[in-house]
Each structure stands twice: as C-alpha cells, then as structure tokens.
C-alpha cells in the first residue's frame, strides 16, 4: 500500500512537472498579451519532432554518440522551437495586436492547424517511436517502483523552472516582462521595449513547452503530430486552475491537475462503488476546474481580474 502510494505520487509528480512546463507558456503569453495561445500545444509537439530530427542527424551524420548526442539534441531542439515561437508571433499575432481580443486567439488556431498538418505532411500522420533519453533503471523504494527516467524528468523540469524563476524575478529581462505584464500601456509610456518583452515571452514559453514535449515523448516512448492537442488542453486547464497570468499558479495548477488525474484514476471506482470508472478521470478534472472557477473566478493563485484588459480592448 505504501509502495503504491509512493509510486503513484512519483507518477503524479512526473506528469505534473511536464504539465507545468507547458502551462508556463500559456500563462506567460496570457500575462503579457491577455491572449490564449491555442498553438502552444503544437510547440510541445514540435519539440519532440525537432529533437528526434536533431538526434538522428547527430547520431547518423555527425557520428556523435550516447549521452552527449541526447543532451545536444535536447538543447538544440528547445532553442529552435523557441525561435519558431518568436517567428510565429511576428507573423501571425503581431499584426493583430491592436485588433479585437478574439482575433489573435483565432489566428493561433490557424497556426495550430497549419503546424499539425505541416508535420503530418512532412513526417507522416502515424505515431513514431521516440528514443528514451534515460537508461532504463528501476529503483525499489519501500515496495514502489521508481524509474531513473522519472527522476531525470523531475530534475530537468525543476532545473528549467528554477531557471525561469531566476530569469523572471532576478534579471533585467524579467523586470521588463513583468512590467509589460502588469500594464502594457504604462510600460510603453515608460519607454520599455514592449516588443522585446513579448518576443522574450514567445521565446521562453515555446522553449519550455518543447522541453515538456521531449520529456513527455521520452517518458511514453512515442510521438505523433496530434499529441499537442490533448496535452495542450490539459496544461491550459492547469494554467487556468492555478490562475492564468501567474507563474507560480501555473506550476501549482499543473501539479494539482496531475494529482487529481492519478488519484482520480485510482480512487474514482472505489469511491463511487464502480459506478464511475477511470474513464471519468477527465470529467473529474474539468468538474474541479469549473468548481474552482465558480468559487475563485481568477483561479487559485490568480489576482482578481483587473478590468484593464476590458477597458483598453474590446472583447470581440
């Protein structure tokens, strides 16, 4: 029982840290642009595909081997996806910055559709086996099984999140991003480079999302062009749950969602005496989201929504 408890907790932490990496991108973009970036799930998918491509090039053509190739592929992929994110913002969202709030969101839907289909055309629609980034090692901890991969994912995710924390709270770039997030018009009046801050967010968000995608594909050993949709929706739910626009909120929301999922799967059939099976896991997640929003409309750690966004911009 204790072993099971430990194992489930580690499972939840692993999935939660991947959700957190993706949720951060949603929340940061929302913070500076008040926009839901529906194409963010595709950054997650692109991360896996670019890493796969980089890895096969490094191992096949350059002849690099083992851990070095994996590390280089990981870093190259997240950096490239970060650049792709910046490029997409320039092309598809920047022209709409003074438009209605709905316009960039729908443009991001177009981006999402184009990216999924583009990858489908280039790499084929079928799922592809993804190499494991960590050797298969199992540890027995008080009866539960923990893999080295899970530990690796947790460490990678926490290093990235700590890096983000330092970037946002301890650097000049972070001050600029936070200022723009606080109030774009005021930041602009103070001479802050708003475009730079937005580009930064569209670099860091996709970078973290891509890292999440690589870790996720490595964890489950598979990637597919459509994998971004479901995980994107979950990470987005996590960002909302924690309070969209809040960076700690996104992490908290991600772990709460992961625990609901893992424990829900285990407990739902027991609690309801078999009436509701594990397939209602996602219903549980959404139901909790809706309940939280009804009690705290701004999410758990979100600040009460300022009316500012409504004042300087029409909703539709």
């Amino acid at each position: 029982m204790l072993g099971n408890l430990i194992q489930q907790t580690v499972n939840a932490l692993t999935i939660g840290s991947i959700y957190a990496l993706i949720a951060l991108g949603y929340t940061m973009v929302y913070g500076v642009l008040r926009m839901i970036n529906f194409a963010h799930g595709e950054m997650f998918m692109l991360g896996a595909y670019v890493a796969f491509l980089a890895l096969s090039l490094l191992v096949g053509d350059v002849g690099m081997s083992g851990a070095l190739a994996l590390t280089v592929a990981f870093l190259v992929a997240i950096f490239l996806v970060g650049l792709i994110g910046v490029g997409i913002e320039r092309v598809a969202y920047k022209p709409l910055r003074s438009s209605t709030r709905l316009a960039p969101m729908l443009s991001s839907l177009g981006v999402s559709l184009s990216l999924v289909t583009g990858v489908q055309i280039l790499a084929g629609p079928q799922p592809v086996a993804f190499p494991s980034f960590f050797p298969v090692v199992r540890y027995q901890v008080m009866g539960g099984t923990i893999t080295l991969m899970q530990i690796g994912i947790l460490i990678a995710a926490f290093v990235l999140m700590f890096g983000l924390h330092v970037l946002v709270n301890r650097s000049r770039i972070g001050i600029i991003v936070r200022a723009v997030s606080e109030s774009r018009p005021t930041a602009q009046l103070l001479g802050i480079n708003v475009n730079g801050a937005i580009s930064m967010v569209f670099f860091v968000g996709p970078l973290l999302g891509a890292a999440g995608g690589i870790l996720y594909s490595s964890y489950y050993g598979i990637m597919s062009p459509s994998m971004g949709a479901v995980i994107g929706l979950k990470a987005f739910t996590a960002a909302i749950l924690g309070g969209i626009g809040s960076i700690p909120g996104a992490m908290l929301g991600a772990f709460i969602l992961a625990f609901i999922e893992v424990w829900g799967t285990a407990l739902l059939p027991i609690v309801t005496n078999g009436v509701l099976g594990t397939e209602y896991r996602d219903v549980l997640a959404f139901a909790i989201l809706i309940l939280v929003l009804l009690v705290r409309p701004a999410g758990i750690l979100g600040e009460a929504v300022s009316e500012e966004s409504i004042v300087y911009k029409r909703e539709f």
Binding site: L233, T237, L293, E315, F316
Partner: protein, 331 residues
C-alpha cells in the same frame, strides 16, 4: 438633426449590384441543387447544418459578446435526442416533428443549466468553463454505454418523416434544412432587432453600463444561452436524422472551434457573415478534396491571412439582411 442628415448622406447607398448578385447566386444554387449528384447535395446539407449552428452560436458570441467554446454540447443533445427517441436503442420510435420539439426544449434547458453557473464569469474564464462543459458532455456520452452506445454510437436510426412525407434522400434534407435555416435566420435576425437584441448588444459593449441603465443582464444572458442552445439542438436532431447514425466523434472540441472560426472569419454578429464563413471553411475543403492533407494546411494558412487581412470578418457588419432587402427592392 444636421448631424443625423450628414450621417445619412455619408452612409454608402444600398448597393444594388452586390445585392442582386448575392440574391441571384443564392437562387441559382437553390434551383440547381435538385439536379446535382447526391454527393454534392450532401456537401450542401452539411453547409446548411453549419450555417444553422453558426446562427445559433452567433447569438452568444456575436450579439452578446460571450465566448462559448462548448457549443457542440447542445448539438450533441439534439443529435442524441433523435438517436434515442427514434431508434431500436430504447425501442422508441417517435415522430420526427415531436422529437424536434423535444430536442428544442432539452436544448433550451441544457443552455440554461450551463448559463446559470457561468453568469458570473467573463471573457476567457467563460471560454474555458464552456469548453470544459462541452468536453464533459462528450466524455459522458462516450462512456454511458448502456444509454448512448458509447464510442460505437447509435446506428439504424429511423427514417424521418413529416406529416406522412418521408424525408430520406439528401435532396429532401436539403429542402428541410433550407426551410429551417430561412425560418431560424429570420427569427434570429428579428430577435437581434428586438428589445432583447438591444439588451444583448448593450451587454456586449459594456456589461456594467448595461446593468446601470436597468437591463436585467442575468435574464438577457440566459435568454441568449437558451436561444442559442435551442438552435444548436435543432441542428443536431436534423443532423442525426440525415446521418441515421450518431456517435461522440461528431461532437469534439474541434467542432466547437470550427463554428467559432466560421463566425469570425465570415463576419462576427452578421448572419450573412456566417454563410460566407461556412462556405469558406466547409465548402473549400470539399472542393480541394483531391489535395488530401495539403488542403488542411492551406485552410490553416488561409485562416491566419484572413484574420490578419480582415480581423472583423469578410462580410462587413453593415451588410446584413436589411441592406440586401434595401438593395433589392428599396431605395
């Protein structure tokens, strides 16, 4: 007074050429449809169903300014009403018109049930809660095997008939859908011009100000949700009758998103815009069918370019039914 005169003079005159052109194309299409092969008629039918869905969702999004991403739930309620009440699943075989009525009522009730908890929410939070609601409905349908048949859905639905006239061929459904779209379109267009429509517009422009001038925003929003859900549900029932098969696959989040896109690409808040948006997003992929997945890529890129080029939609908000009628018959 002088200002009003200047405004009236500045307003572009009703454009006869465009009005007649639109009218002529519509009539030509309708007259030609009976001679088209079944496949083409089916495509037009799906276009009409999406127009119906667009008209429904537009009440909430375009008129009232609330972003609803779970609209497909009402579509599913209507489709499963027909699926359960006119199939061997429960052994019920009710007449089509009765089911349409039941579906409309169930749709309205579901709309109000969704409306009540989300009244407090605004903007993006409303969007995510409605999205969650849509997903919950789909997951429940997918798993309630004893009632809905689960992922397999319900097959062998009854053939529909109205007052003894059987509606089975695609062309029959074309007429049924055309009449429904015309009736629903007219009702909704008049509704938008009514006092309730003005209340919706006031909520869209500024909710606090709307409350300030004495509009009961709660009731107006619930009315918007209920009307919109009713239309979605009716579309669902007709869809189920024409497919004679329902499964949860038809009611994914992507469908909701597609309908929102139709409205925005076409021209938000405008019934003609919905027709244009549906034509682009439904007909174009069908016309380009031979290009397989390239057409989806093309569609995605087209969506981005259209939104950037015309963020307010292809059809200007001013070109509504009044303008057409004025262009055709008036001065």
């Amino acid at each position: 007074m002088a200002a009003a005169d200047t405004l009236a003079a500045a307003r572009p005159p009703a454009n006869r050429t465009i009005s007649w052109l639109v009218f002529a194309i519509a009539i030509a299409l309708i007259v030609a449809t009976p001679f088209l092969p079944n496949y083409h008629v089916r495509v037009l039918n799906s276009l009409l169903i999406y127009i119906l869905l667009g008209i429904g969702l537009n009440i909430v999004i375009g008129y009232t300014g609330l972003l609803d991403l779970g609209f497909v739930a009402f579509y599913a309620v209507g489709a499963y009403s027909y699926g359960l009440l006119a199939s061997p699943q429960l052994g019920l075989h009710m007449p089509f018109l009765l089911i349409l009525l039941v579906a409309a009522c169930l749709g309205a009730v579901t709309g109000i049930l969704l409306g009540i908890p989300v009244l407090r929410l605004r903007g993006d939070y409303l969007a995510i809660v409605t999205l969650g609601f849509g997903e919950i409905i789909r997951i429940i349908i997918n798993n309630l095997d004893w009632l809905t048949g689960g992922p397999q859905g319900i097959a062998r639905l009854d053939k529909a008939s109205i007052l003894g006239i059987q509606i089975a061929r695609p062309i029959d459904f074309f007429w049924l859908l055309l009449i429904t779209v015309l009736i629903v379109g007219t009702v909704v267009w008049r509704l938008e011009r009514s006092i309730l429509g003005k209340a919706w517009a006031a909520i869209r422009e500024d909710q606090d100000a709307a409350r300030g001038i004495g509009i009961n925003t709660t009731n107006a929003k619930l009315a918007a949700f209920a009307t919109s859900a009713t239309i979605g549900s009716i579309a669902g029932a007709i869809f189920a009758a024409s497919q004679r098969f329902v499964s949860p696959e038809s009611f994914t989040l992507q469908e909701s998103v597609l309908i929102v896109l139709m409205i925005v690409v076409g021209g938000i808040g405008n019934i003609f815009g919905i027709v244009a948006g549906a034509a682009i997003l439904i007909l174009l992929p069908e016309l380009l069918r031979e290009f397989a997945e390239w057409r989806i890529l093309f569609l995605g890129l087209l969506m981005i370019s259209l939104i950037i080029a015309r963020p307010a939609g292809i059809v200007p908000r001013s070109f509504g039914p009044e303008k057409l009628i004025r262009g055709l018959f008036g001065k």
